[in-house]
């Protein structure tokens, strides 16, 4: 029941005497009686550290984590391997406990890490300017949309249905505030229908928003879409998985002016959905409209190299209602994990991992498609995730597989009613061939049982 204070009775007496009051109560007199609590907070009594630990461990024990089953769940967050050095660095008090670096002379570690992170994100995305992090992927999409609104003032966002459903929903929520609206472009054989998209883009289009690879795992043909957007004076925005950008062409090299995304795949835990980080990179035209912190290089009074937060005249604490964003605290520690991870993976490791994911995913896709009752949902190239259609109720199939120790993936119907029976399967480098074979075996068994039951029921009628 520690409250982490250090006050003794002697301290209290002496401090009150110095202040010139008799009790702490006297210090609270500005709070009128009618807004004071008359009863104590209705919360359980405080507990010693070991009891709290036991309680939190018991709660953890009631979750099925990625350690407890062979999981193929992805759909926006992925079970990639986290090398041990990340935790050993980010748990150091010097990185864990400081505030945003408002005093740069004593924050050079954090500021330089931001500068390095910005460099890495710039390299991955093919765009020159990166900020120091946003909250997570979907809100980063909404931030990019707001930048576009500041760019051309138009009301409409043309959005691929391959964009993560949470990103589309977040964008709709936030854009409603400033009067923006969202129109969706359907997918055709797993990828954005370029013809439909071109027909929807016009003089009201503020931005066109794509995702690479898209929610179904498919690789989109991005260059023509960026060209359509630019021709209409709309801002082309792409949400990308940074981990695939060693092998997939960078959207920034294909004409996209803003590239955002979810940073969880770069060295961050699953954590039931957060904290991770969002990233945002842009072309230099957009520099003065960037949201959030940006670190820049400068010199100290003696000419030494140093780093500061810069271009702060964009930001809320200076510009107030004229700021380009309201963001203050973002995800600095998670972004640090990201740049450590990218340094660990390295120049050779990033494309190597991309190839490994391509090969393992292709193997899994072929094996699964060979099962009776499983058909590919689309035929597009995939890199780390793919969609199939099951000839059985997908929720029940997932539950039955989980009982056998395998989580086969995400039920697409949860977000896409048009894909009845759709299952989205993610393959990371942590899923070996043996794991994939086990998935194929378990899913095959479960589907066979359904097929048998269906046949039996048919005979009975």
């Amino acid at each position: 029941m520690s409250d982490y204070t250090s006050l003794t009775a002697d301290d209290l007496a002496q401090m009150l005497a110095t202040i010139g009051v008799d009790s702490i109560e006297e210090l609270l007199r500005a709070i009128p009686e009618d807004v004071r609590m008359r009863e104590p907070l209705n919360l359980p009594a405080g507990r010693p550290e070991q009891d709290v630990f036991a309680h939190l461990r018991a709660l953890a024990g009631r979750n099925t984590s990625a350690d407890d089953e062979i999981t193929f769940l992805g759909a926006g967050m992925y079970d990639h391997f986290l090398p041990a050095l990340i935790e050993s660095i980010i748990l150091r008090s010097e990185f864990l406990t400081p505030y945003t670096p408002y005093q740069p002379e004593i924050s050079q570690g954090g500021l330089q890490a931001m500068f390095e992170y910005q460099t890495a994100i710039s390299e991955l995305t093919g765009l020159p300017i990166s900020n120091a992090s946003l909250y997570e992927g979907p809100s980063a999409v909404a931030s990019a949309a707001y930048m576009s609104k500041l760019t051309n003032g138009r009301p409409e966002f043309v959005v691929s249905r391959g964009l993560h459903p949470h990103a589309r929903q977040t964008l709709a929520t936030v854009a409603h505030g400033w009067g923006g609206r969202v129109v969706e472009v359907d997918l055709c054989d797993g990828v954005t229908d370029a013809g439909d998209l071109a027909a929807l883009v016009g003089p009201d289009t503020c931005a066109v928003i794509m995702q690479q690879p898209n929610f179904l795992g498919a690789v989109e043909d991005l260059a023509p879409i960026a060209a359509v957007a630019r021709a209409a004076g709309a801002v082309p925005i792409c949400s990308a998985d940074p981990l695939t950008l060693g092998i997939l062409e960078a959207p920034g090299n294909l004409g996209f002016e803003i590239v955002v995304g979810e940073g969880q795949t770069l060295g961050n835990r699953l954590d039931f959905g957060g904290p991770s980080f969002g990233f945002l990179a842009a072309s230099t035209d957009h520099t003065r409209r960037m949201p959030g912190r940006i670190a820049g290089e400068t010199r100290d009074a003696d000419g030494r190299r140093g780093f500061v937060l810069t271009l702060q005249t964009r930001e809320q604490h200076i510009r107030r209602e004229k700021a380009t964003s309201n963001i203050c605290t973002a995800q600095a520690l998670n972004a640090l994990a990201g740049v450590i991870y990218l340094s660990w993976l390295g120049r050779v490791g990033l494309p190597e991992l991309g190839e490994l994911l391509l090969q393992r995913t292709a193997y899994a896709r072929t094996q699964l498609a060979g099962l009776p009752g499983v058909a590919p949902l689309h035929s597009q190239p995939v890199i780390r995730e793919f969609a199939v259609r099951l000839d059985a109720p997908v929720d029940a199939v997932i539950a039955a597989c989980q009982e056998r120790g395998v989580n086969p993936g995400f039920a697409l119907e949860r977000a896409y009613p048009e894909y009845v029976g759709g299952l989205l399967v993610a393959i990371t480098e942590q899923r070996s061939r043996a794991d994939i074979d086990q998935l194929v075996g378990v899913l095959g068994e479960v589907l066979a049982e359904y097929a048998a039951r269906a046949t039996g029921a048919g005979v009975g009628r």
Binding site: L43, S65, L96, P128, G177, P275, A323, T329, A332, E352
Partner: protein, 505 residues
């Protein structure tokens, strides 16, 4: 005790500053991936060449020991809360308990996938339910969404809730009022949410100017955003009257929870008449700040705002056996999602552990000691040798933080608040927040928090006295400070004028 001001460089200052991109050597690497254990197909068959990246991203080529040494060295160029006093006003830099990192790292929490089906995530949902309930009780507002990612994100959700509430009643409004003492995030949020900001003045006692408020509170006003205690560290005793004025014109009252650490268990925003509250779990509830995040900004709301809360929210259903928890997404009047997944769950784990450790009594005690520590430090800074240079503009007890003005210091000693702050760096403390709130001349906003010892507060006052005494003799010492930090005063104008925002490669 006075640190050296001679120009003998420290070892850190002599170190060459190299980024991770400037270390390493071609061909060097840290990662080794698992073997390719599946039949290998030609790459072209899997990914057509036109989708392939033509030039590889120029990531570092470094070994694992090199990475670790690089970032450990970088870490030593940071000041941190575990190393010294950090009285940054409005930021609540209280101790971050070590237990929290241990529990957050348990695989059942850290390795739980956000799309795990609810029946396989009952522990996580129960934790979120427990945190929701506790925050609702602390706020005095029963309906909670944990989704927003930080304080300003909670503000955005809160103003969008206000919009949804008015629109649902067919009541288009266009103005949100914010006091001139408000955090910058308040007016910035208002603009993002499509409203226009109108400022409200501050009275001589540091509270809301009621006459100004009455004049500006019209039926075009959607909301008043307030923090109480405000950013001057003062509790506004007129809060009930303020709430009445705002409610009488049909507007909502929004509570910026940045200053909640003053009143936990003592007074509740809901009881003051607030409709919407955001919490900063990285302030009052000990999530480490991480050098600029992660945070978390849950919101609690009154009955009339509840139908519009962002999704998902956690529900609890009683059964014959144990209660069952679920995530609900389909609330018909909800404003929708404000981010991906459920929110920053890892932060929830730490905040929940903190609330379990302290309980209701402990939270109240924490707030009381936060107020005591602030008033004690304020009293020390009014003593002779300090008070004549740093004035305390409001002659009343403060809550958990307080402002002082460096105006007299600037006039009589010729050093500015910035110089005082920079000289503090040489003494091994983090300076308070400077130049905020803007209405106080040469302002310092000081928040010691409840976890500091009496000795730390006294040592800080002693440091201030020494710097002022030094400035009386030699003001240029402070003007050129710091001297002992890894770098000396940095040229921020240069950085903004000729931006270098990434390493050229």
């Amino acid at each position: 005790m006075n640190p050296s001001t001679d120009f003998a460089q420290t070892a850190q200052q002599r170190e060459e500053v190299l980024t991770i991109f400037e270390r390493g050597a071609p061909g060097r690497r840290a990662s080794h991936l698992p073997a390719l254990d599946v039949p290998v197909q030609p790459l072209e068959d899997l990914l057509p060449t036109r989708f392939r990246r033509r030039t590889v991203p120029l990531l570092p080529e470094v070994s694992e020991p090199e990475i670790v040494r690089h970032y450990v060295r970088l870490s030593k160029r940071n000041f941190d809360l575990d190393s010294g006093f950090y009285p940054l006003g409005s930021c609540t830099m209280k101790y971050n308990p070590k237990l929290h990192e241990r529990v957050a790292a348990l695989p059942g929490h850290a390795r739980l996938h956000p799309f795990q089906r609810p029946e396989h995530a009952q522990g996580a949902l129960e934790l979120m339910w427990g945190l929701q309930s506790a925050l609702g009780e602390i706020a005095g507002l029963p309906h909670v969404s944990l989704q927003p990612s930080a304080g300003s994100h909670g503000e955005l959700a809160g103003v969008l809730l206000t919009r949804a509430y008015h629109e649902d009643r067919g009541d288009a409004r266009e103005i949100v009022l914010t006091p001139d003492t408000a955090h910058g995030t308040n007016p910035a949020t208002v603009t993002m949410a499509g409203y226009r900001v109108v400022g409200v003045g501050t009275n001589a006692d540091g509270g809301v100017d009621l006459d100004d408020l009455r004049e500006k509170a019209t039926d075009r006003v959607a909301c008043l955003m307030l923090t109480n205690p405000n950013t001057l560290g003062l509790f506004d005793p007129n809060i009930s009257e303020i709430a009445k004025i705002v409610h009488d014109v049909g507007a909502t009252l929004y509570y910026d929870g940045a200053n909640l650490n003053a009143i936990m268990g003592i007074s509740r925003p809901g009881d003051m008449g607030f409709d919407i509250v955001h919490f900063n779990l990285h302030k009052s509830f000990t999530q480490p700040h991480g050098g600029g995040g992660p945070g978390s900004g849950p919101i609690a709301v009154s009955d009339r705002i509840a139908p519009y809360l962002p999704v998902p929210i956690v529900t609890r259903t009683e059964t014959d056996a144990a209660p069952v928890f679920d995530l609900v997404e389909d609330l018909p009047k909800s404003i929708g999602r404000v981010r991906g997944f459920q929110g920053n769950y890892g932060v929830f784990v730490r905040a929940y552990a903190y609330i379990c450790s302290l309980g209701g009594e402990g939270l109240r005690h924490a707030s009381e000691i936060a107020v005591l520590n602030a008033n004690y430090l304020r009293a020390l800074l009014r003593e002779r040798g300090i008070g004549e240079y740093l004035s305390t503009p409001f002659d009343r007890h403060c809550m958990h933080e307080f402002v002082v003005s460096g105006g007299p210091m600037k006039r009589e000693l010729g050093i500015r608040t910035l110089d005082l702050a920079k000289r503090m760096l040489d003494f091994g403390v983090h300076p308070p927040t400077v130049y905020f709130p803007q209405l106080v001349e040469e302002c310092l906003l000081i928040e010691p928090t409840e976890t500091e010892t009496r000795e730390t507060l006294e040592a800080f006052a002693q440091i201030v006295a020494e710097i002022l005494a030094e400035a009386a003799v030699s003001p240029e010492t402070a003007r050129n400070a710091p001297y002992t930090t890894p770098v000396r005063r940095l040229d921020e104008a240069l950085a903004a004028r000729s931006p270098i925002l990434r390493q050229p490669l």
